[in-house]
């Protein structure tokens, strides 16, 4: 077994230091060493997108990055997308559109959609589909995911608000108060 290497990185805005073996993928270290299990493993060879993270602003499959490569770099995972005031519009819109079933691919889609809207705030349906083609979902047929991302883009541009077509304002009845 090779000697472990010390790596310093910024993960979801926090300075993190960890030891890893040179053969360990970023995915393995995020999940097993750092406990960031929102980063999912679906294939471990770059085909499904469930392990998507943003590395220095670039969307990557963390299963295809070695952990030692991230020294001095910045990583955003699904756990780092929501802000201090609550869910990110992408997350909120996924919920309002019921754009998830089993949910295991969802963190990867959240991260991928964030990377898309960071660079292209006004994507067409085709551009959303093309960008998300690296993320496999077997439950939803993508319809509601694509709608949610387009809707979230509109919110981020200030053209729409949370509470879209699928949204329900939840009201507590008298009995529950």
């Amino acid at each position: 077994m090779a000697k472990k290497v010390l790596v310093e990185a910024t993960i979801n805005g926090e300075e993190v230091t960890f030891l890893c073996e040179p053969r360990q993928s970023l995915l393995e270290v995020l999940r097993e060493t750092l406990g960031l299990t929102g980063v999912k493993e679906g294939c471990n060879n770059g085909n499904c997108g469930a392990c998507n993270v943003i590395l220095d602003g670039v969307l990557v499959n963390s299963c295809l990055v070695l952990a030692v490569e991230v020294n001095g770099r910045s990583i955003i995972t699904a756990e780092g997308i929501a802000g201090p005031n609550g869910l990110h519009p992408i997350q909120q819109k996924l919920l309002e559109h019921a754009a998830l079933q089993c949910g295991v691919c969802t963190p990867g889609f959240v991260v991928a959609a964030k990377a898309l809207l960071d660079r292209n705030p006004n994507p067409s349906e085709y551009e959303v589909r093309r960008w998300l083609a690296g993320n496999l979902c077997r439950c939803t047929g993508y319809d509601k995911i694509v709608r949610a991302v387009l809707d979230a883009a509109a919110v981020l541009r200030g053209e729409a608000q949370a509470g879209g077509p699928g949204a329900v304002v939840e009201t507590k009845p008298e009995v529950a108060l």
Partner: protein
């Protein structure tokens, strides 16, 4: 077409209660478990499709530093043959055990042979390489047609054909031949105006859930076994592990973690008994997680098939006879879904003369597992192409032809049962009137196809329990694993029954020690049956609320009225929050539980329309537009009903156009990755238009009809019919991949 508004909660679209955890990455799936002292396991798998195991030497692996346990089939009890119920099918437990760890023979590439637990996954992987297995390699047989030949290599020496109920006497790969027969097909064919006879083959395909199988087990020093896993049914895992390991169910607790998709592929156990054995030996918790290659090579898939279909019609366009020969690959052990294929194939049609012969055939592929409407897609593909050709020969519109021949309440299913209230004709009408069908499709290499589909659905055993909280909310524990939003659809039915808002119900999924017996999430049964349990539970709670209020007010319970969370009697009033917060005055805490065995599930019908464009240079098929109409009964949460339809369509499109297992002549799987096993991406599909036709199922208190499975039944047939109109060739093989389209175009020239 929707039912008139008669519910407060049912039919609304609340945000699912587990949603926030799932969009933030907080939800815990099986692979996310980490227990103190946990070891990591890996499974050694056969590189051969068919071989006798001569010896297994594990000594070198056991000696590797960090290795804490090694197991083989020798560590499993040698079970007698015994048939056991498994969701959407049955299983012989000895075969199930041999599938978990091969005993004398390996029967497919990827068959588990041994397993290791070590202090890290990398040590475990190294240890696998140190296990020495000696094989006598045998000739494999890979398709049903080949396996049925008299000179075919035999997989299971003791197997004898169950020939229409009588046992055969010679070794065979044909596990069963069964038959459905009514009327006189030969006479009807002789008298028919139009007869179409075609043969079809379909490839082996996988469920394709994104989360690989995983299982973590802790065999404690007191012999209590706890299992955390990804399963469609925790009680089913408990039952199977108890049988395979020959230990009492009372020694086993199964905790179902969040499940990352199943589609039928996570009903039978693979890793759970192995993790348990490794933990027993190592005296530490052990986690096993499959790689994607293992998932594809050794779990699922669903059957490839060979089918011959013959149908006839008279001059008026009435179908007069239908005959089918179905041979399905069971994989390594008997139990293909050919029976439900036979139930699906002619179900949408009113028939007096029908003959269906079904063959369950073992081949050197992984044991077939259920996959969404198991067996239905293969059969419906074949039948719907023949129906399309009949309509064409008669010069009839394909939807009108189906309306003329479609089943209604009181008509007979080919199997003999009478249909209850169904919404097939309404669904056909809705498809016909849809903007899609009314639109024109123009341009070269473009075509529109239509197909129908049936699925019988299921009910079964479910349980739920609830307790009243001091703030008047209700904690609901249900026995069904939530794969696609069923926490919401079940909580909504309890909320409707109690007349409270859905966010007053806090649902969670129970483990096998915390809720009553519940069958798995399969058979489109969960919203139907577990929802029914929630309805019963709500009524029990209301009775209890009334009894408590009556005792408090010193009146007869019959004098107490309950509505929308408020109890009243002679001007006095108590809310659920009063009952909960003042429990010392109200006779103590309030809880209830309900268990049902739900029958009278209503069958589901779907009609799909698809427009395609074929690229004559590459053979690629683009799906331009897709509309799915379906009788969904009462849509409890319409968004999740739509989503079930979307998902079924997407899987059906993959099955129809691209997905297939590719084996070499030695039976080695060549495409065990998600790059080469080509499932649809967001770029491969358009938006999928849905038409929810709500014909309530009279067998359910809220009219629920299973919705999840039928949408995968029509897509392959609809695509084949659309491709025919685009290129003038009827494809008789799935998938209709670019290579096959090009071959068809070349043959046409």
């Amino acid at each position: 077409m929707t039912v008139e508004k008669q519910y407060e909660v049912i039919g609304t679209r609340p945000i699912r209660p587990d949603g926030t955890d799932k969009v933030t990455g907080r939800a815990l799936y099986g692979a996310d478990i980490r227990l103190p002292g946990m070891l990591y396991g890996m499974v050694l798998r056969s590189p051969h499709a068919h071989a006798r195991i001569l010896s297994i030497d594990t000594r070198k692996a056991e000696a590797l530093p960090g290795v804490r346990a090694v197991v083989t089939a020798a560590d499993l009890p040698d079970l007698e043959s015994k048939i056991s119920e498994l969701g959407e099918g049955t299983i012989n437990l000895r075969y199930q055990s041999n599938n978990v760890l091969a005993r004398d023979k390996v029967l497919y590439f990827g068959h588990a042979v041994a397993a290791v637990a070590a202090t890290s996954i990398h040590v475990a992987e190294e240890a696998l390489g140190l296990i020495d297995v000696q094989y006598e390699v045998l000739k494999p047989v890979l398709t049903a047609q080949e396996a049925m030949r008299p000179d075919a290599p035999i997989l299971l020496e003791e197997l004898r054909t169950d020939e229409l109920g009588a046992k055969g006497t010679t070794p065979t790969n044909i596990a069963e031949h069964s038959q459905i027969s009514r009327g006189d097909v030969e006479k009807a064919f002789a008298e028919a105006a139009v007869v179409v006879e075609r043969e079809f083959t379909t490839a082996t395909v996988h469920q394709g859930y994104i989360e690989p199988q995983n299982s973590t087990a802790l065999w404690n020093v007191d012999d209590q076994l706890t299992i955390w896993c990804s399963t469609q049914g925790a009680f089913g895992v408990r039952d199977q592990v108890a049988e395979i390991l020959e230990i009492p169910v009372s020694k086993i607790k199964v905790i179902p973690m969040e499940i990352g998709g199943g589609f039928g592929g996570k009903i039978g156990v693979y890793l759970e008994p192995i993790a348990a054995l490794l933990s027993k030996k190592a005296r530490r918790p052990v986690k096993l997680t499959m790689s994607r290659a293992e998932v594809l090579a050794a779990t699922g898939p669903t059957s490839g098939s060979y089918m011959r279909i013959k149908m006839a019609a008279n001059r008026e366009g009435r179908i007069t006879a239908a005959q089918a020969y179905l041979a399905y690959e069971a994989g390594a052990y008997p139990g293909s879904p050919v029976g439900s294929g036979a139930a699906v194939i002619f179900a949408p049609y009113k028939l007096d003369n029908v003959l269906i012969d079904s063959y369950d055939v073992v081949v050197n592929k992984p044991r077939a597992a259920a996959y969404r409407a198991p067996g239905g897609t293969n059969a419906a593909y074949a039948a719907e192409v023949v129906v399309d050709e009949l309509a064409e020969k008669l010069g009839m519109d394909p939807i009108d032809f189906r309306i003329l021949n479609g089943v209604r309440e009181g008509d007979k299913h080919p199997g003999g049962s009478e249909y209850p209230r169904i919404g097939y004709i309404e669904t056909l009408q809705a498809a016909k009137n849809s903007p899609h069908y009314q639109s024109k499709l123009e341009g070269p290499y473009r075509g529109r196809g239509v197909a129908a589909g049936y699925w019988g659905n299921y009910g079964g055993k479910s349980s739920a329990s609830a307790s009243l909280n001091p703030d008047g909310t209700i904690s609901l524990v249900e026995g069904s694993v939530d794969i696609g939003g069923s926490r919401a659809s079940i909580a909504m039915q309890l909320a409707e029954t109690l007349g409270v808002a859905v966010d007053c119900i806090r649902p969670s999924v129970g483990d096998t020690d915390s809720v009553g017996y519940t069958e798995g999430t399969y058979g489109s049964r969960t919203t139907f049956a577990t929802g029914w349990a929630a309805y019963e539970l709500g009524n029990k709670l209301i009775q209890e609320f009334k009894a408590r209020a009556a005792a408090y007010w010193e009146v007869d319970p019959a004098q107490v009225a309950y509505a929308k969370g408020v109890l009243t009697c002679n001007g006095r009033r108590l809310t659920l929050a009063d009952l909960g917060s003042q429990m010392d005055d109200m006779g103590g805490p309030i809880s209830a539980s309900a268990s049902v065995r739900a029958e009278k599930w209503g069958p589901a019908f779907a009609v799909h329309i698809v427009d395609v464009e074929v690229d004559p240079e590459t053979g690629k098929v683009d799906v331009l537009r897709y509309t799915a109409a379906q009788d969904v009964g009462t849509a409890i949460h319409p968004s999740y009903v739509e989503s079930q339809i979307h998902g079924g369509v997407a899987q059906g499109v993959g099955w129809g156009l691209n997905e297939e297992y590719v084996y070499d002549a030695q039976g080695r799987l060549l495409n065990a990755s998600l790059l080469d096993y080509r499932m649809p991406t967001a770029l491969d599909l358009p938006m999928i238009e849905t038409i929810l036709v709500e014909v309530p199922n009279p067998g359910h208190p809220y009219g629920v009809r299973g919705v999840g499975e039928v949408p995968i039944v029509p897509p392959a047939g609809a695509l084949a019919n659309a491709i025919y109109r685009a290129i003038g060739v009827r494809l008789n093989e799935l998938p209709m991949s670019p290579a096959r389209i090009l071959a068809a175009l070349a043959a046409k020239k």
